[in-house]
Amino acid sequence: MTEFLPLSEAIARHVPDGTSVALEGFTHLIPFAAGHELIRQGRRDLHLIRMTPDLIYDQLIGMGAARRLTFSWGGNPGVGSLHRLRDAVEQDWPRPLELDEHSHAGMAAGYRAGAARLPFGTLRGYIGTDLPKHNPNIRSVRCPYTGEELATVPALNPDVTILHAQRADRRGNVAIEGIIGAQREAGLAAKLLIVTVEEIVDELPPAMNGVLLPHFTVGVVSHCPGGAWPSYAQGRYSRDNDFYLRWDDIARDRGRFTEWMERHVRGTSDHRGFLESLRRGAA
């Protein structure tokens, strides 16, 4: 049975310190509200998993919530660096961060294997790259049929995956529209899937070929309108490209970053409060 919980309770109950947690969503539907709740509740020692860390992991890393990061591309899309991620890797601030670094194709194979409950994923990949020299998780296997050497990555099975979606129904079926990245695979790979949604409806129309996570794969649904901002929710609100540009300035300086996080995230009680504080303060 899917549980329906307020986001703060879902995080308090299911995401303790030390959890391996994947907040997925490729540019679209990034679960910012859930990431902020992890920060509000002061989580530590998390193993963060995400193909593109984006601003939300920049924030979690800068607030000292992460011990380890599994990722494949760590930039501010279309803008430049993630300054908090860089500071953690280059200067150990606010604490050292272990890296488990992949390519997109490798991480996608890891999620697919995880979703299928296979021990590892294979791909014809990691060719001509130094990544395997620095990441012992990237190995190889000989194909028993052709003898070809193929790259392998361990299955990614996060303790918890958190997604954001447009809609869920009252049984816990979740419908996602637009760019879906590796959300379906990351969701099915998790030991527990939590989904924040823009809207809860009585019934979803049949999704002939659409993406739907059926209720028996969804552990928790939390109603959280606007929960993907400053990323976007197709059909609801647009990506706030201007905020992604402004983040470059906010995150560049440790003091300014900390002050912004204290004021807008730690200083508000929930996602609605966070958005209202931005409207008032014009950030």
Binding site: F26, R124, R239
Partner: protein, 257 residues
Amino acid sequence: MSDYSRDEMMTVAAARMLWDGCVCFVGIGLPSAACNLARLIHAPGLVLIYESGTIGTRPTVLPLSIGDGELAETAACVVPLPDIFSDYLQAGRVDVGFLGAAQIDRLGNLNSTVIGPYSRPRTRLPGAGGAPEIAAHARQVFIVMKASPRSFVAALDFQTSGGHFEGRGKSGARGGGPTIVVTDVGILKPQPGGELALVAVYPGIPVEEARAAIGWPLAVAPQLETIAAPTMKELAALRALKARTEAAHREPVRLPI
């Protein structure tokens, strides 16, 4: 011919390399501008794939990120990201993949991971993303980078994706590797053995400037081509595309409350 910038020359030069019907794996920035310019000018059947999962997308403005809603709304279809890498790229269905990087060496190997040692980098860069598998499996790789001795280097700090590295033929890479490097001082192509050589220059840019911008002793082809300056039609289309993009990105986004 009116004045044009070096960025415009690069974008137009890259756009001209693309042909109608070509299946193209696009990155953000200059490659995205070049691909969409080609689609608007001479290659209306160009198929643009962005790694976020959008296939056959025809954006009216350039996206800021690889996953802007504009790309999904104007796509022929949107598929899961793992499908893009396994069933399209790895399966050999991509004609041209665009790449850029912080560093390139004379064999077209690229670094977008770190400057300095991996365990304690001076500069941590975003990392690989789709690059290693694009470099391995696209039939051709087009590289677009501004030239400077800091970026065109004798030795990479880290090899993120492979060009014409030794052993490529037996590595499992299905694609042909880099076939062209478009810079702001001219165009480089690999010679037999894989080393990049200057094969074309732009109007008004001397070979000496190209040599000075490359951090290894640059080989120069005996027959140097001069690329034609951008036409009025190309410049008008590119500038209109950029203007539409800027106007769209200026529109304020309301907070979702």
